[in-house]
């Protein structure tokens, strides 16, 4: 970390950090060593704009982000209270202008995040030396800028960033290798398919040959054979979700471009788990900061200030679910159920609401359970497994639809099944469209074919076209994406001239 950016904590804060850290440890949290730095709001805006890494590669969007954050500070719209970096050691930033109660809250909150980073399975494969890694990426990109020019490198980064979400969200640690075929299983027929043996009908007499296997028939047979062969060399053999990896392996890029694309992909994989565990991670951190503060740290005089701030963090926001609030409420719901023994076959099969309500077997397994949950779940499985009917009612969840005439969001209903389906639908693939490479030699012309697995929501078409153009810049040959537009199968095609939307193909699922 750049020493010029930050300053040491005051002795008073040092003591507080020490105290809260030991509380966190005693309560069973487990984290990498955590280093707190004191920054002013300008530095905080800067660090936040760089996604936590001031040493990152240069790019205009960080400048844009900085201006946006700094401006919202000026208007008092937002205050970044917390900033934690998943790294070993963990780095966390404290805003110099925060009140002491706020600082205590943030410190306790940070330890919640640090425990989550270290223990949740989604983060198990993240690079814990990312701080160094990012600096290394930064210097590599700077070198390319010196070699080939700022504009060129920056616009190539623009291209990579527009493809940044085309990674395998569910398998950040699965790095499938696609090796082009080795020399030793070299297949002559791939080069000249006309040399392939053609099956003939048996003819006993030589002079009958021309009648039994006429020229036209042989041609037909040969075409069939060639087609079979084509199918065999389908490439890739099965659809590839990690589009970036496919491009890295097979797109005609120069060395520096390949490296830049690899850097963008690497960073996308590093940040992906944070998007996949937002609700749990924030819920976990809020759970622990409120527990540590209210039970162990706060003086009586500070409680009101704390509650005031806390209410701000976990307020209801109507149309958009507040991840902090949803997360912490669901965590507490799980804890309560497992404390009372509301789990297992008996409980599941019980359908008397009154019995269920008063179900208490004093199992006291709540704490153990939430620790387990924070280790083995991501947001999707968390919601899927634990968001039950009781919770829906307690948390006052509802579905809303937009009223056509007024544009107002109107409460639609409070039916549990609808709510859950709606939530999980929206979270599919963590909110990104499912896109695979299905063919790297489409139409046998070296075109790329991507498939969007449509699940009820259309792509934003103008953006899809722009993104396709960017893929074309990387692939250099025509590019296609098969999707569904207004319930019809379509293929968007771009070959460098004008994008076209063509009739689509039906994939067998």
């Amino acid at each position: 970390m750049d020493p010029r950016l930050t300053s040491d904590l005051t002795p008073e804060l040092k003591d507080i950090v020490f105290e809260i850290e030991s509380h966190a440890k005693n309560l069973g949290l487990d984290f990498f060593p955590t280093i707190f730095e004191m920054v002013d709001y300008q530095q905080m805006s800067e660090i936040a704009a760089y996604g936590g890494f001031p040493t990152r590669y240069p790019h205009w969007r960080f400048g844009m982000e900085y201006e946006r954050i700094a401006k919202s500070y000026e208007y008092g719209l937002s205050l970044i209270y917390e900033m934690v970096i998943n790294n070993d050691p963990c780095y966390a930033y404290l805003l110099r202008s925060n009140s002491l109660v706020d600082q205590k809250t943030v410190i306790a909150h940070v330890y919640g995040h640090c425990d989550f980073f270290k223990n949740n399975y989604c983060f198990a494969h993240t690079n814990r030396k990312t701080l160094d890694e990012m600096a290394n990426h930064g210097s590599r990109v700077r070198r390319y800028i010196e070699e080939v020019g700022h504009d060129e490198v920056e616009s190539f980064i623009d291209i990579c960033l527009s493809l940044e979400n085309l990674i395998d969200q569910h398998g950040p640690h699965i790095r499938r290798e696609y090796k082009p075929k080795e020399k030793d299983n070299y297949d002559e027929s791939l080069i000249s398919p006309d040399k392939l043996p053609v099956p003939k009908l048996p003819s006993l007499r030589g002079y009958m040959e021309g009648y039994i296997n006429p020229e036209s028939y042989l041609k037909e047979q040969q075409a069939k054979v060639i087609l079979e062969k084509e199918k065999e060399k389908k490439f890739p053999e099965s659809p590839v979700r990690d589009v970036l990896k496919f491009l890295l392996d097979f797109a005609p890029l120069s060395a520096w471009q390949r490296d830049v694309l690899a850097i963008v992909r690497e960073e996308a994989y590093y940040f992906a788990p944070q998007g996949q565990t937002k609700i749990m991670n924030e819920g976990w951190a809020v759970y622990w900061h409120s527990k540590i503060l209210t039970q162990l740290v706060l003086k009586d005089s500070e409680v009101i200030d704390y509650c005031d701030h806390y209410a701000g963090v976990v307020q209801m926001s109507g149309q958009r679910l507040n991840p902090y609030k949803l997360g912490v409420e669901l965590m507490r719901h799980i804890e309560k159920r497992w404390d009372k023994g509301q789990f297992g076959l008996d409980y599941t099969l019980c359908d008397d609401p009154l019995v269920r309500k008063n179900w208490n077997k004093n199992a006291n397994k709540g704490m153990q359970k939430i620790f387990e949950v924070r280790k083995f779940h991501n947001d999707i499985t968390f919601i899927d497994e634990f968001l039950d009917e009781d919770f829906c009612e307690e948390a006052k969840l509802f579905t809303w639809v937009q009223d056509r005439r007024s544009g107002q969001a109107i409460i639609h209903d409070r039916d549990f099944k609808t709510i859950k389906r709606e939530l999980l639908d929206a979270m599919t693939n963590f909110g990104h469209p499912l896109i695979d490479v299905v063919d790297g030699n489409f139409r046998n012309r070296g075109e790329i074919l991507l498939r969007h697995r449509h699940q009820g929501k259309d792509l934003k078409i103008d953006w899809a076209v722009e993104t396709l153009k960017n893929i074309h810049k990387v692939w250099s040959r025509p590019v296609n994406i098969a999707t569904v537009i207004e319930s019809e199968n379509k293929i968007i095609h771009f070959d460098g001239s004008e994008p076209r939307i063509e009739k689509g193909i039906q994939f067998e699922h």
Partner: protein
């Protein structure tokens, strides 16, 4: 701000400049910037510069929320959240506001319209003293000590006499090592300009015509401010009589009288006589009307006023005729007859509608006078 972020912010600003240029025509004819003018800054609404991705269309028509209410009730919007800043991605909004200084905006206008820089006629009224630091002296006040140079001198001396060990890099400057910054007082002439706006507010000028004048003058001001250190603006409205008003009144007055253009030119002459000796001031005259002067006599008088005093004392006289349903537009023809289309100092331009403002600006400012 550290150097690093500065680079990224500058890269971003460069992109923004390009966006503003792309949207300039819209800004000029819509006037949305005028209301957003602060002291020296203009807040410009731009579509968010986002990188395209494969994403779902954001026609979000359904979702899950949390809170009180019965089915059928409108969802109450919570207040803004305190932000979070866990390293990660933030959802973006779809438009953004960028603060740009008026000066920069004028620069963009100039680039887009291909305006030449105004050649100062060398009229000087004030010279300003500026302290310029340059050069290094061997003696001076401690407050002006040049630390770097002093340090280097010490280092050179200590190394040359073998008094420096890299392990204990201690440098002690003595009097001979000390270097000080020196300064010169420079006298820089300051160029000043005044714009006198005249507008016909007789009954035949409608609100839309006035709005066109307002939009045009906003950009004229910006460009001239960009070119001169000091800029005064004065406003004259006239129907059959003329009076000087402040800016607000200038745009919000509606009279019902007839039109005597000469009244305005006379008042303009008086203002120049009283406060702006033409040896010291660059004077710009802009007159907007629907061209409906009452009588030929008055028109002749206008030409006399122009020829005898207004043109000789000013840099430029521009007449902008806004089309109205009632105006005859005769005055423009009379001016053209008198001065021809290529007069050195007189620019005559017709502004049909808001879309014509851009060309009007080009006509008025395109000569670099």
């Amino acid at each position: 701000m550290k150097m690093k972020m500065e680079t990224d912010v500058n890269r971003f600003r460069k992109i923004v400049r390009g966006k503003i240029k792309d949207n300039l025509k819209r800004f000029i004819s819509s006037g949305e910037l005028i209301g957003r003018q602060g002291n020296k800054q203009v807040t410009i609404p731009l579509p968010r510069i986002d990188l395209p991705r494969f994403e779902f269309g954001n026609n979000q028509q359904r979702g899950v929320g949390q809170g009180e209410g019965e089915p059928g009730d409108a969802v109450s919007q919570g207040q803004a959240q305190p932000g979070e800043g866990e390293a990660g991605q933030n959802p973006g909004e779809h438009s953004m506001e960028v603060d740009v200084s008026l000066d920069e905006l004028a620069g963009i206008l100039g680039e887009e319209l291909g305006l030449p820089r105004i050649e100062d006629k060398g009229k000087k009224n004030i010279t300003q003293k500026k302290y310029k630091y340059q050069g290094v002296l061997r003696n001076g006040p401690e407050s002006l000590r040049n630390f770097k140079r002093t340090y280097k001198e010490s280092l050179k001396r200590q190394i040359s006499i073998g008094d420096y060990t890299p392990d204990r890099p201690i440098i002690i400057p003595i009097k001979e090592d000390k270097r000080y910054r020196s300064f010169r007082i420079e006298e820089k002439p300051e160029a000043s300009a005044v714009i006198i706006y005249m507008m016909d507010v007789s009954g035949s000028m409608g609100d839309e015509q006035k709005e066109i004048v307002r939009l045009t003058s906003f950009w004229l001001n910006a460009w001239l401010k960009h070119n001169y250190d000091n800029l005064d603006t004065r406003f004259i409205i006239h129907d059959a009589i003329a009076r000087e008003v402040d800016e607000h009144t200038f745009y919000h007055t509606k009279e019902s009288g007839g039109t005597l253009i000469s009244s305005a030119y006379k008042l303009c002459e008086k203002i120049i006589m009283d406060s702006y000796p033409s040896a010291e001031w660059n004077i710009y005259l802009f007159h907007f009307s629907d061209g409906d002067n009452w009588s030929g006599n008055d028109t002749n008088e206008c030409m006399t006023l122009l020829d005898n005093f207004l043109l000789p004392s000013s840099n430029l006289f521009s007449y902008g005729q806004v089309e109205s349903r009632y105006g005859s537009g005769q005055f423009l023809k009379d001016l053209e007859k008198h001065y021809g289309e290529q007069n050195e100092k007189v620019i005559i331009h017709q502004i049909k509608d808001r879309d014509g403002i851009m060309n009007a600006l080009r006509a008025f400012l395109g000569r670099g006078k």
